[in-house]
């Protein structure tokens, strides 16, 4: 090979550069595959479930009641039951969660006590769902005397989903710049006046997102309600809007899926898949709403 007569161009492709580029391409490819590995299961699972559920999917499914020992029929009592549970748990966790987040972000100073509070929030988020069930059983069903009821189950769900609301609300509050608060304090406003006039109005979107996420979590949980108030079967009329009393037990979509999958023999094959699809559909739809809300409101920022 003839040696070059001039010094090589600074930006020419030396073997070192070529190797760096190859490694770069390889790394990018591998990481892309890893990221894609998340998309594939989501699509595959949803697709496959829908495919197998197809024979049973219809509006009738949602409105009708289960028949023949739940081997056929619809989901109405479970659907309504889930609405009850989610609604009541929301009434419990939303106010407490939002206020707790306001405390943590707006009032708490950096001392040991508040570090313990923060730790408690993190731990509450990490408690296994079955332990929440045990807690609900011991505290609400027995100690408080509520028995197996929607009340016990909703309270258990509410406490379980509290961290979701706290986390979203905190994020929303923290996104409001500190300079706004300082400007308010400089003119003699109290902390609450500042929060009410400036911070809260501009955190509503984040808070709403948190609420929606709480709803989706609560709708999907099974263990906490299985032992505190949800039940395999309850006789309910088709399409009845208020079939349950607070002290009664109820059916729920998540529980119903578990029941059909593990406790009911001879069920029509597509029925449990259809139940899964309905539950999944509710949950994913609610989440998609939260995501859309977040994206939309991000575009309307006021500073």
């Amino acid at each position: 090979m003839t040696p070059r007569s001039r010094a090589p161009n600074r930006f020419s492709r030396t073997p070192l550069v070529a190797r760096k580029e190859l490694v770069e391409k390889l790394a990018r490819g591998i990481f892309f595959v890893m990221a894609a590995a998340m998309v594939v299961p989501l699509v595959a699972i949803v697709g496959y479930l829908v495919f197998l559920a197809w024979p049973s999917l219809s509006w009738e499914l949602i409105v009708a009641v289960p028949r023949r020992g739940m081997t056929e029929g619809g989901l109405w009592p479970a659907f309504v039951g889930t609405l009850y549970l989610v609604g009541i748990s929301l009434l419990v966790s939303a106010p407490i969660g939002v206020m707790a987040a306001i405390y943590l972000n707006e009032y708490a100073t950096d001392n040991w006590f508040n570090r313990v509070v923060n730790l408690a929030v993190i731990n509450l988020a990490g408690v296994p769902s079955i332990v929440h069930a045990l807690f609900g059983l011991g505290a609400f069903v027995y100690a408080a005397g509520f028995g197996y009821s929607i009340l016990s189950a909703s309270l258990t769900l509410g406490i379980m989903t509290l961290p979701v609301i706290i986390a979203s609300t905190r994020e929303a509050l923290a996104a409001v710049p500190m300079s706004f608060r300082e400007a308010c304090w400089n003119v003699g406003a109290t902390r609450w006046q500042t929060i009410q006039a400036v911070v809260l109005p501009h955190s509503i979107s984040g808070i709403l997102t948190g609420v929606i996420l709480q709803v989706s979590r609560a709708a999907g949980e099974t263990a906490p309600i299985m032992f505190t108030g949800a039940v395999f079967f309850k006789a309910v009329s088709r399409g009845e809007l208020f079939p349950y009393g607070l002290h009664e037990q109820c059916m729920a979509l998540s529980m119903h899926l578990y029941t059909l999958a593990t406790q009911v023999p001879n069920v029509k094959e597509s029925l449990p898949y259809a139940t899964a699809v309905v539950l999944l559909g509710v949950v994913l739809l609610v989440n998609a709403t939260a995501i859309a809300l977040r994206v939309w409101l991000r575009g309307r920022k006021q500073w």
Partner: protein, 302 residues
């Protein structure tokens, strides 16, 4: 001349003080609830824990779990713990590389539009309820496992491990991505100015800089896996024994409580031992979460 200063309505001032008191109370509520959980677990478990003839060592390390035996009741949770460990370990072996890899891709390599899409996918994946995952494992995954490995039964460690991995990946990805995002851009700019490729930047600069957060991501993934109930209940089978292979059916600590709680009469020893198991679970997840939080505190300090 300044006009006489206005005064706030007494009602308004009192109302505000009341509201601030309620807010502070709500702030403390998390502590109250965690303490309450601990209290009620302990309350139901205590009679058995302090009963004569009960050996904590045997509870924690005995492999024989026969709570309903008439003649020889034994409460050894080691097999259950081994089940939890096996499924969690397998799940982490799969989820950690994929999760970290995906986080690196989303954070460093991909364009903004793809990033938005992937982040939405992650959120939706995270939203799938555990009972749906369990159902998927019970029906679809078990058939696949039987077909491809010739195992007699499709519900086993392998099934549970794969399902748990899919459930833990979103947690790992989002926390790891946060950790990578927290590394200041100045690090990246400095590296680029020295001629580093993106891969070199990631390997030599970003991963070491973000290691606390990445550790926290893995730990939180572990916490998620260990605490999971319904999915493993449906996907790992019924056998309470220490697993010897990936294709063995097992039972985890969590699933065991769920499976047996319905049968145990309230107030019985069996019932109380299940609460004790819950207490054990609480302690395990407490330690894991505490460690993860300490690791995250490391990144926030910077």
């Amino acid at each position: 001349m300044p006009s006489p200063r206005p005064e706030r309505l007494r009602v308004a001032v009192l109302g505000e003080q009341l509201l601030e008191a309620v807010i502070r109370l709500s702030g403390v509520s998390a502590i109250v609830f965690v303490a309450a959980i601990l209290f009620f677990l302990f309350r139901e478990a205590a009679p058995v824990l302090f009963a004569s003839g009960f050996e904590l060592g045997e509870f924690l390390f005995g492999t024989e779990w026969y709570p309903t035996s008439v003649s020889n009741v034994r409460y050894g949770t080691l097999a259950l713990t081994a089940g939890s460990l096996a499924v969690t370990a397998l799940a982490m072996v799969i989820a950690v590389p994929f999760g970290l890899g995906a986080a690196i891709y989303v954070s460093e390599f991909c364009g903004p539009r793809l990033r938005e899409t992937l982040k939405i996918v992650i959120e939706l994946l995270a939203a799938i309820p555990s009972v749906v995952w369990g159902f998927f494992g019970l029906t679809v995954m078990s058939k696949l496992i039987v077909r491809f490995t010739g195992a007699p039964v499709g519900v086993n460690v392998l099934n549970g491990g794969i399902i748990l991995a899919l459930m833990s990946v979103p947690v790992i990805v989002s926390i790891a991505e946060d950790a990578l995002k927290a590394v200041p851009d100045s690090y990246r700019e400095a590296g680029a100015a020295l001629g580093a490729t993106r891969w070199q930047l990631v390997y030599r600069v970003l991963l070491p800089a973000a290691k606390n957060g990445l550790l926290a991501a893995v730990l939180l993934g572990v916490g998620r896996a260990v605490g999971e109930t319904m999915a493993v209940l449906m996907a790992t089978g019924h056998a309470v024994h220490v697993p010897h292979s990936l294709l063995d059916s097992v039972r985890t600590l969590t699933a065991n409580i769920a499976a047996e709680l319905g049968e145990a009469p309230a107030g019985s020893d069996h019932y109380r031992v299940l609460f004790l198991t819950g207490l054990l679970l609480f302690c395990i997840t407490f330690v894991v979460n505490l460690t993860a939080d300490l690791a995250i505190r490391g990144i926030r300090r910077k």
